[in-house]
Amino acid sequence: MTASTAPARPESEAAATSPWVERLRRVGRALALPAGSVVLAFLIGAVLIALAGGDPLASYEALACGGFGISCFGGETPALQISNTIEFITPLLMAGLAVGVAFRAGLFNIGVQGQLILGAIFATIVGLRLASLPGVILIPLLMLAGVVGGALWAGIVGVLKAFTGAHEVVTTIMLNYVAYNLLNYLLINGPMQAPNSSQISLPVGQNAQLPTLIPQEGLFFGQPGGAYHASIGIFIALAAAGVYAFLMRRTALGYEIRAVGQSQRAARYAGISVRRTIIVTMLISGAFAGLTGGLMIAGGSLHYLYADLKFDTTGFDAIAVSLLGQNVAIGVVLSAILFGALHAGGLVMQSDVQISSHIVEILQAVILFSLAANFLRSLKLRLPSLGREPAKPDGMEAAQAALQAEVGSTAAAEGDGRA
């Protein structure tokens, strides 16, 4: 409507800038808000800690120590803290990508936890059954099994969505509960329960475990090598992020996924099969989730399947990771690092300064609020360049785009900035 009064952006601005500057600026624009949100959240968190009777500076020192291995004054070994953080980042990153790929197609996958469990089950089965195979064969097989398990579980969602229109939020939540019960069945007096135990399976053998970054024998940074659990799983996850970026930016499939996420009608116009794309997207999302499960079994510190996996929050934290990272590979990597570090740091914070690690959850929430609400926009009056870019995940613009089409606004970008 009114926005149709806004003509195209003046060309002078464009003519002067080279594509590199433009690209850099875009990266900067994308990063400025999340970074600002984090800073803001820490300020609010400091107030909370002070109110709870803690010392914010000491708390944040402990948090930074646990998270990044810096400012460690409690006798912690920085390298060990970094190793722990890497261990936490790995599944968060992997699962964050799973959520992200679905968001890109306009699908809200709340079912990563269930898909991850299926992946872990499949991976454990392969790890135990084929234990005699050498690592170079077994580990890829185990990961593949995880991928298959996760993709299978998410594929059900995709097929139901594509052919019956069943809403993915409902189906993923339902399948989560089915997965929890399947896990219980297998591990509690079930076929996968370890003979002399309960609630857990046998661990997968050495051959099925991912090589760790630091050798398991000997002393490193004053600590036994076995204490460092960070494995090459982080490289698998980072490689997955690379694949994700490549898929989204450089492939026709990624192009089609993004198109479907923005407008199904437009996708049909372009000859894209919406059904097929939804199914394929869910398969990819589930594959990432299943790989997360595989990484949790082959990497990490526990190499067995455990029933408490149903209370594990990785699949849900991943939603926050993906949202914070705005479903872009680099964003998901950065926010997984942040969330992994916050989690690891929270544990140290509690042990060092006795500030409940649950303050970390409040910090995470404030970061998300601040990002979503774009509080920094209020600074816009003073700093006109800040906060113009809508801080909105790619996949969720579809509805807005549709609305804008309806009301005939042509200058939505300006509109968002104005709003």
Partner: protein
């Protein structure tokens, strides 16, 4: 009942104030754009005042300010000579202002009655919606103004003309004295337009004041008493309709001489490029839309499809483009039967398609222009290795070429399509669809909502394509566009082709054909 509605409005100051509305020094700016720049507008009581200007001239912004939807940065508004602070539509309604929006403010899933009374609902027993009272009131209102409608019909099921009637009733129901109509005729047939004008004249006789926003100059001359022209957010001037003519208003709007006719040589039709036999298509909801249509489209000609919106044109185009599966019948492009091929392969067979819904289908607004220039071709070998990995270098080069050739005004090929004006967005689509040198081009509402400069440009390109040997199917709600571009005109009515006419067919005959051959178009809900 209308007395009750009027009761809570401040009493009009009597006859001494000659102006219904005075807007003084209105300014409204967005970052980087001044939509209204020191605008003064004066509307006399009881007149029909036309507000004209190109898309983006600031007409809608001005009227949204008057209606309280937008806050001006500066300026003041007087209504009936009194200063009015309008901070929302509620204030505007209380002061007797009503607005019929270009994009209807109707809720498709609500009944006609619910839409009309929304915001002023009669209630019983506390807060319960009183349906029988609603029916009574609407009947009374319909009788008073001769606007008949069934209050219990589902609004989304009505044809556009009737939806507009609902909008007008909505405004009248609120007891408006000053009616703003934003581009009301864009979606109407000549007959419906004619009827609308009769209604408007009746309203003015009954003491109402009307502001009429349009870009159709003929209508301005036909209906208005005064004309105010806006250009780039500024008032260019206000003239009495009697003292002006089409050319002058056009010049004021655009700021230069405008060619109102399209120059083209006579068509040299070749072989049939598109053949359709006994095509029957349902809407996505499964309702019959196209019924047993057969036609041949020849290389080197433009076949215009005229018709009231909702008579199957959209579905015909969608079926031809492979977006909708026909229920029966066959479609050939050249010798190739593409009936079952789907959009992707139909495109490969040589078909290009400028869709009617630019933002909803033709573009992905968040995608860059470069990405949009391969939309639909994303798996073509030229842009994707083995149809999988995008060749970004080629895509960017391609985009830069199209931007240059089609004069798309954009900072760079990486700019998101969202940031472009409507005209430039449309140019991106036109560029993409024409650049493949299609055998068949479906152009659906190719100039809707774009400025005059872009319209001229797009018309010229369509004729160029024809002269280069493409077969063009042009669907448009603008009869002028159809008549000036087409070599033949097909009229669609209720899913069938009622007739195929020469381009110089009288407008009256077209109108007649569009409404079923003679009688007024009637809809069950209208009785």
């Amino acid at each position: 009942m209308s007395t009750e509605v009027r009761a809570d409005r401040p009493a009009a100051p009597g006859g001494e104030a000659p102006y219904a509305i005075e807007m003084r020094h209105i300014r409204k700016a967005w970052p980087g754009v001044v939509a209204n720049d020191d605008v003064n507008l004066t509307i006399r009581k009881g007149e029909i005042h036309a507000l004209v200007g190109e898309n983006g001239a600031g007409k809608s912004t001005l009227m949204n300010i008057l209606y309280g939807l937008l806050k001006p940065d500066a300026g003041e508004i007087l209504i009936n000579g009194q200063h009015a602070h309008i901070s929302g539509p509620r204030d505007a309604i209380v002061r007797g202002i009503g607005m019929v929006h270009q994009h209807f403010m109707l809720i498709p899933v609500f009944t006609v009655g619910e839409n009309i009374v929304l915001g002023r609902e009669p209630v019983e027993n506390g807060d319960f919606y009183d349906r029988s009272e609603v029916d009574t009131r609407i009947r009374a209102l319909s009788d008073e103004y001769g606007l008949h409608i069934n209050p219990d019909a589902r609004t989304g099921d009505l044809p556009v003309g009737l939806q507009q009637r609902v909008e007008i009733l909505k405004v009248l129901y609120r007891g408006a004295d000053i009616l703003i109509l934003d581009e009301p005729t864009g979606v109407l047939t000549p007959q419906e337009t004619h009827d609308l004008f009769a209604v408007l004249r009746g309203l003015v006789r009954g003491g109402k004041t009307i502001i009429f926003i349009t870009h159709k100059l003929k209508e301005v001359l036909e209906i208005s008493d005064q004309v105010t022209v806006l250009r780039r957010g500024k008032v260019i001037g206000t003239v009495r309709t009697k003292d002006t003519n089409e050319e002058e208003i056009a010049r004021m709007m655009v700021g230069r001489e405008v060619l109102l006719r399209v120059d083209k040589a006579p068509a040299k039709p070749g072989a049939a490029a598109l053949r359709v036999e006994h095509l029957t298509v349902n809407t996505e909801q499964g309702l019959p839309a196209v019924r047993d249509v057969s036609l041949e489209l020849y290389a080197g000609e433009i076949l215009g499809v005229a018709g009231v919106e909702g008579n199957g044109q959209s579905e015909l185009v969608a079926a031809l483009a492979g977006m909708l599966k026909p229920r029966s019948g066959r479609i050939w492009i050249g010798d190739r039967d593409v009936t079952e091929e789907g959009a992707r392969h139909t495109r490969h067979a040589g078909l290009a398609h400028i869709p009617e819904d630019r933002r909803g289908a033709g573009l992905i607004l968040s995608f860059s222009i470069a990405e949009n220039t391969i939309f639909g071709h994303q798996r073509d070998a030229a842009f994707a290795l083995r149809g999988m990995v995008l060749r970004l270098h080629e895509i960017y080069a391609w985009a830069r070429r199209l931007i240059k050739q089609f004069d798309v005004r954009t900072p760079s090929e990486e700019t998101p399509a969202r940031a472009l004006s409507g005209g430039n967005q449309q140019k991106v689509i036109v560029a993409r669809e024409m650049a493949t040198q299609p055998k068949v081009l479906l152009a659906s509402q190719p100039t809707r909502g774009v400025d005059i400069g872009a319209i001229e440009f797009i018309h010229r390109r369509i004729v160029e394509q024809r002269d280069a040997g493409a077969a063009i199917l042009l669907v448009s709600a603008e009869l002028d566009e159809i008549r000036s571009l087409s070599d033949r005109i097909a009229v669609m009515y209720e899913g069938k082709i009622a007739s195929i006419e020469p381009p110089d067919v009288p407008e009256e005959r077209l109108g007649l054909l569009m409404t079923g051959g003679g009688g007024r178009q009637t809809h069950p809900a209208a009785s």
